[in-house]
Symmetry: D3
Subunit: 136 residues, 6 copies
């Protein structure tokens, strides 16, 4: 059967700090540089959520993008938007909020809410020049 | 052999309405909401056509993008640009012009015009935040 | 006093047709070309609303952009989004919905809702390559 | 004489929190909403610095944009990039870091470093949809 | 009378080299750095042409953007696109093709072709991060 | 194991000319048109380098994007930026510098510098509307 992908773009603004609590300050500074600022810095994150599946012949939709947008708002934006990822988001209590870890956390949350008949792939832009995809 | 993909971006502006003629007005309103306006609404569609194949050692091209641009203009833009998809485009006489159905129609038209030694993939942006890909 | 400008970007999707009812079909076709399609075509319109004024020392705001966004939604997007400008929007009953006329209509609506202590300027993108500003 | 404007775009990533220390928590929440998160949130700020002046006939430049880029890096990015605006930037010790206040602070710093024969104007994007200009 | 601005965006790709023939190689290298490569380098130039005037009540247009696009193609793109600005464009035979000089040359050409009842302003992007405007 | 992709965007500006030295001028003109200008033309090239691999649990990184940026600068930008691809870059001494050939050259250079445990994919934009990917 023909499979089509549909993609919805959303965004959120958040603060974070990169560091490994098992390392010394010097080690953290060496690896994470400016991103290790203990007072945090922040980003406008652009999030692309992609579902792949068959077109429903009654609607012409693979998945209603309004429904997908509402799902992303309820499951992801309410958790991440205008938040400090290190302090406010439980998933990063013991996990460094790098773009790589954020994209896997978002995937794991959404994967549980979306029927497994749809393939799921996430792209996350931390800046215009740095972005990540999962699964690869 | 090494395969490289080449992509040409084109665009068209069109009106459309989403609805299923077998449903009641209430059902159409419930599923398609604002997109069900019987007077139509419209979009600037951005179209990315991707061909994958081997580089011709004489030209250094996989496929001349000027030729691809002319092909897209002749086969797709002349049919879709500044048109009402529901009323003016025969392919949507009995097919709901969702982004998913539009991308499959475009693929099917171009697939017949492009040598099968090239893989073909289409990406279509209906808005900056909603887009589709086929094949997935 | 120091005056700062604040700008909020919104968007809407609409269908329209350009024509002058006092002209013959041939005249309309000659002047408006593809834009004269009687079945309509459409666009994703990007709207930038700019207010200029002094910074309120208590808030640090010239104008709360959340309030401005809500105002644009209530006064403009509810009127224009997913609509046929010619058929659904009273302001264009006897006015050709060119980008120039749309930007003046939007200005006139918002000007009545925004305190005259703020300067107001509107930018409207009809496509990525065609846009207008009012006042100039 | 002919005056031409030259513009250099730079960017920085920072955390901030909006609040007025003279207000109650309820007042701050009412006015600043999500932006009042005491744990901070953040943005990718895009900064456009515009100088207007006459073309130097020897170089063909109004102002060497490499020199302008270096000046912005030394005077602004070193101060703001990967920082917490409230905690790390002295100018915001007693000033709410709204986009309006940030753009005036940047202007005041750069105005002292650039010959007054050049007009100076700053545009600052806090998000893709919210931005400010100074002077207006 | 109400004046509205209409803007058309076009683009061209060109090679150039920055240098002053009255200077030594060392002086040219010091001022122009990488841009002084005697073998040339190049850019994708984005050009925004803005006309301001009154709306024609018969058409709803300030100026037909299709006509403006054709004019830019005939007067500017045919002269600049896929050219070496230093070698192929007569205006730069004795004029350094900096963005500042290019924007003034484009203005001077178009100003002669456009009725003086319209104000004219040109914006030229040499890169995404370096651009110029004339008049300022 | 979970594999995540990380992507870094860089850019360079270069001149080039497309031609096949084994062909007559007429053949070159027929195939390459404006791109065959013997005086060269140029582009702003946007380069996206994508590495796929497992997340290092100590850093939360697949690959430090600052390190990747430095690697791209040292291996690619120093070779290509502000250069004439035909005259200044040894790889194109006997190879036509089409986007397809450039993307393969960049891949081959970077592939030797990046551990084979990472998958590598390159995307190169020659203009906003023409771009290539390798491997496909």
């Amino acid at each position: 059967m023909k499979k089509v992908s549909v993609i919805r773009k959303e965004h959120f603004n958040a603060a974070h700090r990169l560091f490994n609590p098992e390392w010394t300050d010097e080690q953290n500074q060496e690896i994470f540089g400016k991103c290790n600022n203990p007072n945090y810095h922040g980003h406008n994150y652009d999030l692309h959520v992609k579902l792949s599946g068959e077109i429903d012949p009654k609607t012409g939709y693979v998945f209603d993008l309004k429904v997908l947008s509402d799902l992303i708002k309820a499951e992801i934006l309410d958790l991440f938007d205008h938040k400090n990822l290190n302090l406010d988001v439980p998933q990063f209590k013991n996990l460094n909020p790098t773009a790589e870890n954020i994209v896997v956390v978002i995937y794991d949350i959404l994967r549980q809410k979306i029927d497994t008949k749809f393939d799921l792939k996430i792209k996350l832009f931390e800046t215009e020049r740095n972005y990540v995809e999962y699964p690869d």
